[in-house]
Amino acid sequence: MRLRDTAEESEFRARLRAWLATHVPRHHGGTAPGDWTKALHAAGYTGLTWPAAYGGRGLPPTYQAIYAEEAALAGAPDHVNVIGLGMVGPTIVSHGTPEQQRRFLEPILSGDFVFCQGFSEPDAGSDLASVRTRAVATDDGWRVTGEKVWSSYAHQADWCLLLARTEPGSTAHAGLTCLLVDMRSPGVQVLPLRQSTGDSDFNQIVLTDVAVPHDCVLGPVGEGWRIAMTTLAHERGTFGITLTARLAVEFDRLLGTVRDLGLADDPAVRADVAELYVQLQGLRWTGQRTMATLARTGRPGPESSILKLHWSVTNQRLAALALRLLGPAAMLHGPDSHAAGHWQHLRLRSRANSIEGGTSEILRGIIAERVLDLPRTR
């Protein structure tokens, strides 16, 4: 057990920090979606933990945690590449053919392929296994027709990891297949959806007879559920490290707001802030335990199942506390509002934290079933 950076880790951290300090400011506002990833890649900061054979650096998982912390501190524009680098890439490493690995992994790392995730549908949310988007076999592959919703960054994506029903008449988990869909294929239509914050980061994707060749089937036909679960495991597990690093930055901002508003001596505020800090520290160090288990055994331990769930709870509490600090000024939402409306935005946005990537109810069910060995609740 060693709860501090090794000499190599500190050196990596210091270099990364210096690099971020010069490069993050150049990428704020208005650059093309893959540009940040391209810059990261050129500097050797993508695919830190991917095997060297797939263009990664083959470093232990702790380096990914250092990256997450430093990138969050520096305010790196990391959102767009998260799906490709954090979820789809590792899924292709686990389940792709050698040809797919050659074709997709390098461009994901280099920012040439931005990915989105097309799982949810109007009638398949928590009950993801009821997807209806159907793929019909053709001589060359598959023809896909259906509708996906809530697909983050689909409007900026080059590719989509899509879950579709390939076996007519099948139900639930059987008969599903994961497809790699070129977003520029004829028949793909992306319609932005407006979020409650007013932003448009997620989309509806309408697919009409979209041709997907054989070599774009990820994993065996009919086993899409297992493949999709690999992607979700990354989203709900180790991605928690990145989420926690961002939460830590929000927490520092909260401290700034407390001081700016002259509330640093208010006993109730002090207790709330300290209590929140304990939750943040718990998440941070549980994330480190997850990384250590991953490094040793190749898979995260059961404790990883709490990360996304408790992050969402804590982020929501933080946002609520911050906005309440503002008092009546919380209602102002414009250029003259405190911190340019940051807390107003976060308060609204944070409510989706317990929905995106699996709702808190679904995640509690997973802990109950898989970790606590309780009977199925559904």
């Binding site: 057990m1 060693r2 709860l3 501090r4 950076d5 090794t6 880790e9 702790t62 945690a65 401290l255 407390v258 001081r259 640093a264 002090r270 207790a271 802030v273 300290a274 209590e275 800090y277 304990v278 939750q279 520290q281 718990g282 998440l283 160090w285 549980t286 480190q288 335990r289 990384m291 250590a292 288990t293 490094a295 040793r296 404790e303 709490i306 769930l309 408790h310 109810e361 995640l363 509690r364 069910g365 802990i367 109950a368 079933e369 970790v371 606590l372 060995d373 309780l374 009977p375 199925r376 609740t377």
Partner: protein
């Protein structure tokens, strides 16, 4: 960074769990608690298994504390290793082989304890309260005021003028006692120059072990609840198949894992050289806050999930709940720990030197 137990640490914890499971089946825990009993028979076994080894690391001690909480072991191990040994170590003394404890808390009813020179030695007079495992201890470390400030003394038990009065307690396996001392001979262990600091460090060290113990209590309560949720059938299904039950237990699990991480981290920092004192102190506060929450929450959820059974004297869960409540209240209050953290987080950085003047 490597936040994982070593194989040796894992084995140590597993061996401890086996020993305690053997010594303390649940009926025995209930029987001992029922009779406010102690179990001196386990002490030699613990010593043989290395529980009191001076070289034992802090993470290792934390693991033993976790297992003690899980089993609700009726031993004076924590009082001895957590509270008394650090004082002997600070005094440069060898560690006595028998159970010990530390008495430093004032009686809420008033009355402290004073020490005065008597010939070449010292005599102590007054009271100390809320002393844990006092009846089994062969010697008591007593904090007493001298003309130069507080100092720490070793008092043998029994001794002239020493009475140990058991105080009725909610939690019955660790107990609390009031000490009455009347010109009782004491041997100076730590002189006033350093005694204040030694006492503070000792309380922190012992408190970090209690955070680990609380993790063990939480884990046991969750285990009991989980077992019941699988076995108990209502409306034709095991009650664990109802979300209101399952999700409650999932939340206990979340709190348990957060506390586990923070308690182990606090141990590691406490036992590692060249970590700055404030980091150790804050990690301690975080661990105590999180582990108290986890233990109380796990027990209360378990009480809900076990229904009427959990409300009975016979169902043993309440013994763990009582321990959780003891842990939640022993020594420094949660709000004081929160205040320590708030001070650290919200105290404005000092003015740059040179600007403050004028």
């Amino acid at each position: 960074m490597d936040f994982a137990l070593t194989d040796d640490q894992r084995e140590l914890a597993a061996a401890a769990a086996r020993l305690l499971a053997d010594r303390y089946p649940v009926e025995r825990v209930a029987e001992l608690a029922d009779s406010c009993g102690t179990d001196p028979g386990t002490w030699p076994l613990l010593r043989r298994q290395g529980w009191c080894d001076p070289e034992l690391g802090m993470v290792e001690k934390g693991l033993l504390a976790q297992e003690s909480g899980y089993a609700l072991a009726a031993t004076a191990w924590w009082s001895t290793v957590g509270l008394a040994h650090p004082v002997y170590r600070a005094a440069g003394r060898g560690l006595p082989a028998d159970p010990l404890t530390l008495a430093w808390q004032d009686d809420p009813a008033g009355g402290g304890c004073r020490a005065a020179r008597h010939g070449s030695g010292w005599q102590l007079t007054g009271q100390r309260a809320l002393v844990t495992d006092a009846t089994t201890a062969s010697a008591l470390v007593v904090a007493a005021d001298t003309d130069d400030g507080i100092a720490l003394f070793a008092v043998r038990s029994p001794a002239a003028g020493l009475t140990i009065e058991a105080q009725p307690t909610l939690e019955r396996l660790r107990g609390a006692a009031r000490l009455h001392l009347a010109e009782t001979p004491g041997e100076l262990l730590v002189a006033p120059e350093t005694a204040g600091q030694v006492l503070a460090d000792t309380r922190r060290h012992a408190g970090t072990l209690l955070a680990c113990e609380a993790v063990g209590v939480a884990r046991r309560a969750l285990d009991m609840a989980r077992r019941h949720a699988v076995d108990r059938v209502q409306f034709g299904r095991p009650i664990g198949a109802y979300q209101a039950v399952a999700h409650r237990l999932a939340d206990s699990y979340v709190a348990l894992e957060l506390a586990t991480s923070l308690a182990l981290r606090a141990c590691w920092l406490d036992g590692t050289a060249d970590v700055d004192a404030t980091t150790v102190e804050h990690a301690h506060a975080e661990a105590v806050i999180a582990s108290r929450q986890a233990a109380v929450q796990a027990c209360e959820s378990a009480l809900q999930v076990t229904g009427g059974l959990g409300a009975t004297w016979e169902y043993p869960l309440h013994w763990w709940y009582r321990r959780a409540l003891w842990l939640d209240s022993f020594d420094t209050r949660t709000r004081t720990h929160l205040a320590t953290l708030a001070d650290h987080l919200l105290t404005a950085p000092p003015e740059p030197a040179g600007q403050a003047a004028g």
